[in-house]
Amino acid sequence: MSEKQEPNGKASATNITDQERDLAQQALAEYEKKNYKSCLEHLQRIEESRPNDPKVLLNKAIVEFYESGLCTADKFQKSLIDVCKQVELNLEQLDSLEDVENCIYYYNYAVFLYHLKHYTKALAMINKVYSFIESLEESLAHKVCLLIVQLHIDTNKHAEALKLITYIESQFVSTDNATNILTGSADQGGPIHAETEKTEKKANLDAATDAFRVSLIQYRVRSLMELNLFDECSQQLNTIKEKQDSITMFLIGKLEYLRGNHKEALAILKEIPVKDDFIETGECSSVLINNNVACLYHYAKKPTLSFTSIYKAIVQHQKNIVDVTKPTQAEGSLSGQPLHIIGASIKTELMFNLGISLLHARKPEEAFDCLIEAVQTYHMNPRLWLRLAECCIMTHKKSNDRDFDFKKPYIEGVVGSGKHRKIILKSQLFPDTKYSCEAVSASIPMPSLEFGSLCIRNAVLLIQNDTIDCSPSHTPINTPHKDYLFGCIQSAGAYIALCLGDPVVALKYSQELLKSDKINKVHKFLGHLYAAEALILSDKPNEAIDMLKESNAFDDIEPEIHEQLRTEQWKPDKQKSAKAVLYYNLAVALTLRGDLDKAGELLKQIWLSKIEHVSVPVHVVILALYIHLRLGQKEIAITLIKQNCPQAKR
C-alpha cells in the first residue's frame, strides 16, 4: 500500500456532497433497471464535480460497455487499465493488489479474461481477490466465489474446486450463519439503515443466497461428475431436483448418460424448456438439447439420426452467433460481439461430435473435415488423433466386408471367344496397397494414408503421458482403457504402414501389439497377421510362417469380437472366420516359400469350413488357382475359376 494513494482515497471519502450521493443513488437505480443511457447521464454529472474519482471513472466505463451491448471489449479493456493506472494499480501484477478497495478492478478484469477463455490467468487473478473474500461486500463476495469455482472447474482442478465449495458453503450459506453474516451489518448497524430497508434487504438476500446456494451445488455436481463420483452426484442433485431449472436438468441428464441410462436421459432432455436467450446468456438450450440427443442416438447405434441432429445444432449455433455479431471490427479484434459471446462458441465441440458420428455412419471424408477442426483445439488428445487416422483408413478401405463377399466378381473378365478365349484375372484382388508417387506433402491434412501415419505418430507420443487427455470428452476413471487404446493405435499404425508399403514400420507397430499381454484378443490376432505380412514383404517367409503357426490369438477371441460387434459390423465376426483368415495368410506364406502342397492342404481345410457357412476370404479361390497353375494343372485351374466365378463361364 503506497502512501501516494491516500490523497485520492481520502478525497473520495471526505468530500462527498449530498448532491453527489443522491446522483450516485439514482445512477445505481438506473443501472439496476438497465437504463444505461440515463445512468450514464447521472455519472457524467458526478464526474463534473469529481473528475478524478476512480470509482466514478470505472463505473462510467462499465456502463458505457453495457450500453454498447458489451460489444466494445477493446475499449473497455483500455478504460479499465487507464483507471487502474490512476490508482497506481497494474492489473498484470497481482502483488499491486493490497487494498480491499481495489478488488473490484481485479474482479472485473478476471471476468473479462474468463470470457476470453484465458482461464489460467483469470484464475491467478481471482485467487488473489479471493484472499480478501471476508472483507468484500456480500454481493461481490458471492460473485468472486462463483468465479473462482468456475475457473477451477474450467482448468480441471476438480478436487480443489470441491474443497473451495465446501469452505464457501460453510462461510456463506450454512443457513443461520449465512443470514447472520450477510445481514450482520444491518442488524447491528442501526444508525445507518432504517428498519424497513432492513427487512426488505433480508428478503432479497434470501432469494439471492438461495440462488447462490443452488449454483454452488451445481458446480459441485460438475466436479463430482468429472471425478466419476456418480453416487455423490445424485445425492447432491436430489437436493435441488425440485427446482427444475435447466442447468440442473442438463446435469441430471448427463449423469444418466454417463451411467449408460440412455432412455432416462432422453426423457429428461425432452422436459427441458427451450428458451432462446442466446444474446443474453450466450447459450441456446435447443442447440445443447440437439447435441445431447445426438449423443444418445449415437450410442443407440443410429448414426444417421445422430449426425443429422448435431448438424441441426451446428446450423443453429452458427446462426445464433451471426445474429449477434455486429460488423464493427474496426475498433479491435475483440469488438463486434458481446463479451459473453466471444468465448461462448461451442462449435469445436459440436464439430467433434459431428465427426465421431459421421465416422460411425461410414462417411470418413466428411468426418475427417470435422475432426481436423476439432484437433486444432484438442491437439493433446491421442484418441482424437486415432479417430483421424481411422478416417484415413476408412477412406482407403471402407470395411472388410468385400473380402468375404463371394458374390462380387473377383476376376477381371473374359476376352475373345472360341480358340482365342482368354480369362483375365485381376492383378490385385483389391487395391490395398498404395505406393504414393504424388509430390504432395504428407502433412497436408487430408484423409490420405500418409497423413494418417502422422496422426498415428502423434497418438503414440501422446499416449505415453501418464494421464491421457480425453478432452473434450468425459474422462473415465480407470486405465484398462489405456491398454485398449494402445492396441487400437498400434494396429491402425501397422495397417497404414503396410498399405504404404513400409514393412519395417509395420513390423515395429505390430511387435508392440504382440509384446503386451494386456492387449485385446482382436488386436493380438491383428498383430500376428500384420507382423506376418510385414515379414513376407521383407522376404522373410520362414519367420512369417512360424509366427502364423504359433498364433493362438483366436483361441478365445469370440467374446471380444462380440464386444466390437455391438458398435460396428466388423468382419471376421466369428472365431472360425478369423481362423480362416489366419490360415489363408499362412497358405500364402507357404506358397511363396514354395510349399505348394502344404498350402493346398490348408486351402482345402478353409474350403471345408466355407461349406459349414463360415465366412472365408474370397482370396482362397485365386490362391488355389495360382497354386494349380504353378503345379502345371491348367485344366483344374480353369475348372476352378468357372465353378466359382459365373463371369468366367459365360
Binding site: 471519502a13 462527498i16 462499465i62 453495457y66 480478501f132 471476508e134 461430435n353 465416422l359 506364406a589
Partner: protein, 464 residues
Amino acid sequence: MYLSVNQLSTLMSILSEETVENQTLEYLVSQLHQFFKREDNFKVGCTLLMLIQHSDFLLNQTQKFAAIILCYELYRNEPIATNPLAPIFMHLLHKKVGKNEYVGDLPVLTMPVKIFLSNLIMSQNSKELLRKSAKQVLTARSDPSKPVVNTATILNTIKERRKNLPRTAKSSLPVIIPDPQKTESKEGAKQVLEMLISGPKSYVSHNFKPEMMRLVPPLYVCKEEMVWMNMSSRSNHQIMYDKTMCVSTSAATEARELMTKALKTPLTLQQQQHLLAELGNDPKLVYHIGLTPCKLPDLVENNPLIAIEVLLKLMQSHCITDYFSVLVNMEMSLHSMEVVNRLTTTVELPTEFVHLYISNCIVACETIKDQYMQNRLVRLVCVFLQSLIRNKIINVQELFIEVQAFCIDFIQIREASALFRLLKQLETGDTCSIGNIAAAAGITPSTIAAAKDKDKEKIVPKEK
C-alpha cells in the same frame, strides 16, 4: 496403352508368315530395330513373350522361332544374364529350370533349333548365323558334328540373379489365362491381340501373385466419447458496477482517519474507545480502514491495545498469517510482547509462530549491547516465557534446549534462575508443583503489567 495399334500391327507384319518364310533373320532384326526404339524394348519383349506362350496367335512354327530370335536380339548388346527375357531361353533349352514354374504353352524346340539357339547365345559373333532365314534353320537336318552348346554356366548365373530377388517379386504370373474352346471364334487373332495389348487396360503388362489378406482394424469403441453439453452458466459472471461509489459513510471515514492517526501516535483514551466502537459496529469495517500487514508494527508500537483488537477481528481473514509473520518478525519490544502475550491467551496461535517469536526474543537478548537494557529485556522474556508455560500455551519440551541455554546464560538474573528451576521441575515430571514454583517466583498476571510500567520509558524509545 502398352503398344499402340500401329506398333502392334508393325510387329505382327514383321512376324507375318510371308516375311518370315522369305526373309533372313538378319532382315527381321533390322526391321525390328528400325521400327522400335530402345525404350520400347521391354514392351515389345513382353508382347513377343505372350505370342510365344499362347498357341493361338502365331500358328506357324517358323513364326514362333522368329519371335524367339527377336526376343534375344532385343537385348543382344547386354550380357545374357541381365536380359529380362533370359529365363525363357533357359526354359526352351533345358525344359525344367525350376520346380513348379508356370511357363504357359511354350513350344517344344526341335534339335536343330536348339543347336542354333545355343550357338546364338554362346557365340561372340552371331551375325553369321542370322544370315539364314527362319525356315532354313527349321528345316536344317540335325548335324551330329554340331551338338547343343553347353549353356549351363549361363543358366547358373541367371539362377543366381533370381535367387537375390525377393520371393514376392518372382512369384508373379500373367493375368491372361488361355481358355481355348472348340466353338468358332467370333474375333480374329488381331482383334483379340489389340484388346489384350493396345486396349485401355493392356492386360499383357499385368501379373498377379499370392496376396495376404489385410484386415482393416476395427473402430475404436468408447462409451463416453461423444461430448454431452451442459449449460455453462457463463452469465453468472458479469462485469460488476462498483456500488460503493460515493457512498462511503461518515463512520467509515472517521475510522479510517483514526487508524491513520493511530499509526503515527498513541490515541487518546476517548479516540481509542471511539475507534473500537466503530469496529465493533461493523464487522467488515476492519478491512476497510487501510491497515495492511506492513503497517502493523507502527500500530503495535503506538497503540498496542487497538492492535490486539484489530488482530482479533482479522482472525477469520485469509491474510491473518501475513499479519502474524510481520508481528513475530518485528523488532522486539515490550509492546510487541504484550500483543503476542494477549493473543496467545485469547486465541490459538499456530505453534510455529509462537516458537519463532520466542527464538527471536532469545536472539534479541543475546545480541543487545547495553548491559542495563539487556537485563531488562531478559527479565521480560523470562516472565513472558513463564506465563506461556504456566498457561500451557507452549509445550516446553519442544524448545527445551534453547530455553535452558538461555537460562544458563543469564542465571545471575533472578527471573532467569526461577525459569531454570521451573524447567528442571518440568523435566522431573513434577507438574503439580508448577503453579507453586510460579507463585514462589512471584509471577502473577500483574507482574507483566508491573514490569511494563517500570520499563516503559527505557525500552520504548527505539533507535531508528
